[in-house]
């Protein structure tokens, strides 16, 4: 599905570089990369999403070099890829329901399907009672759950998660882990980067360590 082939990234501030990283994410796999601050975790996710260019090496999406993709192919890839950041990315002027249904609207689904899927996702993340609430009044945990619900309705082929549990409680982390397994079950390829403290809780996951930009098996 996704393959990092000797990827090297040099940031201008010298922080979070990647050195000859090679990593293969087979379809439907769950890979967890752990590393301390500045190890290059965010760079790994950004390169995977095509948000950052490699200085050398290449990123292959289904054996196609992402740097060779035209705009149409790249945005098709992005549409099929869910990206979770440390800080939830939501549209403030929309309410909870509107935020969750947005990806489906953009994909051009029918209203009935959108309503059904959005309601299911709202129930899954436990925010059914908040569906008409504005985003502004919600806490970080609730915002993150909205992001997870967005991922669920999208049914992405690839999930790139950049330590989304960073600010979350232990209960939220358990919910997040359950969410990852749910996506894995429907065939989503998952790459999660995080710090090392909670990695022991993952089962059936390929775990790698990133140390000063180098991937240690």
């Amino acid at each position: 599905m996704l393959r990092y082939d000797n990827v090297t990234v040099t940031n201008s501030n010298g922080f979070g570089n990647l050195k000859n990283v090679s990593l293969e994410l087979p379809s439907g796999s769950l890979t967890v990369v752990i590393g301390s601050s500045g190890a290059g975790k965010s760079s790994l996710i950004d390169v995977g999403a095509g948000l950052k260019k490699c200085n050398s090496g290449r990123l292959l999406v289904e054996n196609k070099d992402i740097s060779q993709m035209n705009s149409k192919s790249y945005f098709s890839f992005l549409k099929a890829t869910a990206i979770l950041k440390k800080k939830p990315r939501l549209i403030e002027r929309f309410n909870v329901y509107e935020n969750i249904r947005l990806p489906l609207l953009l994909q051009g689904h029918r209203a009935k399907y959108i309503r059904l899927e959005t309601t299911k996702a709202l129930e899954y993340v436990g925010l059914r009672h908040k569906e008409l609430s504005p985003i502004k009044g919600l806490n970080t945990s609730q915002k993150m759950r909205i992001n997870l619900a967005q991922c669920l309705v999208r049914k992405p082929r690839l999930l790139l998660a950049n330590d989304p549990t960073f600010n979350l409680s232990s209960d939220d982390f358990d919910n997040f882990r359950e969410f990852l397994y749910t996506l894995k079950d429907i065939g989503t390829t998952i790459l999660v980067v995080m710090d090392s403290s909670r990695v022991g809780k993952f089962k059936n996951a390929k775990i790698k360590t990133l140390w000063r930009g180098e991937l240690i098996p």
Binding site: D46, A49, I91, E92, R93, H109, Y113, K120, D185, I186
Partner: protein, 317 residues
């Protein structure tokens, strides 16, 4: 959640984003609502900034119009004893010296009638006025001013002539000022163009900046920057159209005001009702230039916003 897991049919159904249209228009209306102050003041300010240029343009076209319609002329006032035959002889002599457009011998009564009509004088006063016999010689626009000046001197030296009035100097002045007008007009056009460009750039940047986070979220959902910034592009086009329409509405009013003022200033009375023709090609081209410059500013702003979207999309905090 078991239902979701089983729903694999839609796993790869990433349809064409026709849903972007709904987002685009709702966001456009949202931007209009949130930035209602900018939406009103922006185009108004741009029209206000263009007023000096429009005024210069109107003055230039008006001076061109005057030059075209006001041919150089010499008015010769004859002595009282000069008979109509001698007046005609003098007119023939003038026609022999230079090419003329029209020669009219104005009888004293006709002259008094004209003046009385123009100045709204009563019949008694009209009777009281005694005008000399007059020859009005009108020349073509391209007549040589040197020849006309010599002719005026020649006529002034004639014993049958009591006075000579000519518009040759005015005509020469109009010709001389034309190059100055063109220079002022070019500077005004460039200046207004630069202002339009800067204004387009800053207006869209100011409106777009608080919206960047939303556009970067859309980017992460697979919407290209060009599509997520479409509401801003439409907003830029709408402001441009309002700007153009505003200038087209303001211009005739400026022309009207200016022609009335000029007529009063030079003649102390209104000669003719100024004509409000459709904007000429020169005006349309000038306005199109200003709007194009404004749109270039909008394009620069959109381009900068696209860079900011990418930057914001890759931010992690």
């Amino acid at each position: 959640m078991a239902e979701l897991n089983q729903d694999k049919n839609t796993f790869r159904s990433h349809k064409n984003p026709s849903g972007n249209l709904g987002y685009c228009w709702s966001t456009f209306l949202h931007l209009l609502r949130v930035n209602w102050g900018f939406s009103i003041l922006g185009p108004t300010f741009m029209i206000y900034c263009s007023l000096p240029f429009l005024l210069i343009l109107a003055a230039f076209l008006y001076s061109d119009h005057i030059k075209e319609h006001q041919r150089p002329e010499i008015t010769v006032f004859l002595a009282e004893k000069v008979s109509p035959d001698k007046a005609a002889l003098l007119a023939k002599m003038a026609a022999a010296v230079s090419v003329t457009y029209q020669i009219t011998i104005i009888e004293p009564k006709t002259a008094a009638k004209k003046v009385a009509k123009t100045l709204n004088l009563s019949a008694d006063l009209q009777e009281a006025i005694k005008f000399p016999r007059t020859i009005q010689i009108i020349f073509p626009n391209d007549a040589d001013p040197l020849v006309l000046e010599e002719l005026a001197q020649l006529l002034a030296a004639d014993s049958r002539v009591t006075g000579v009035y000519s518009t040759i100097e005015t005509h020469k002045l109009l010709q001389r000022t034309r190059c100055h007008w063109v220079l002022i007009l070019s500077i005004g056009l460039c200046f207004t163009g630069v202002i339009s460009l800067l204004f387009g750039y800053f207006l869209i940047t100011i409106i777009g900046r608080p919206h960047i986070s939303e556009m970067s979220t859309m980017f992460l959902l697979g919407v290209p920057s060009l599509e997520s910034s479409r509401p801003l592009q439409i907003l830029g086009l709408v402001f441009g159209a309002v700007y153009l329409l505003g200038c087209l509405v303001v211009y005739p009013a400026l022309v009207r005001g200016m022609t009335i003022s000029v007529d009063w200033f030079f003649y102390f009375h209104r000669l003719n009702e100024p004509k409000l023709d459709l904007p000429s090609m020169k005006i349309l081209i000038s306005l199109a230039f200003m709007v194009v410059m404004y749109l270039v500013g909008v394009l620069f702003a959109i381009r900068k916003i696209h860079v900011s979207i990418m930057k914001s999309a890759s931010e992690n905090e």
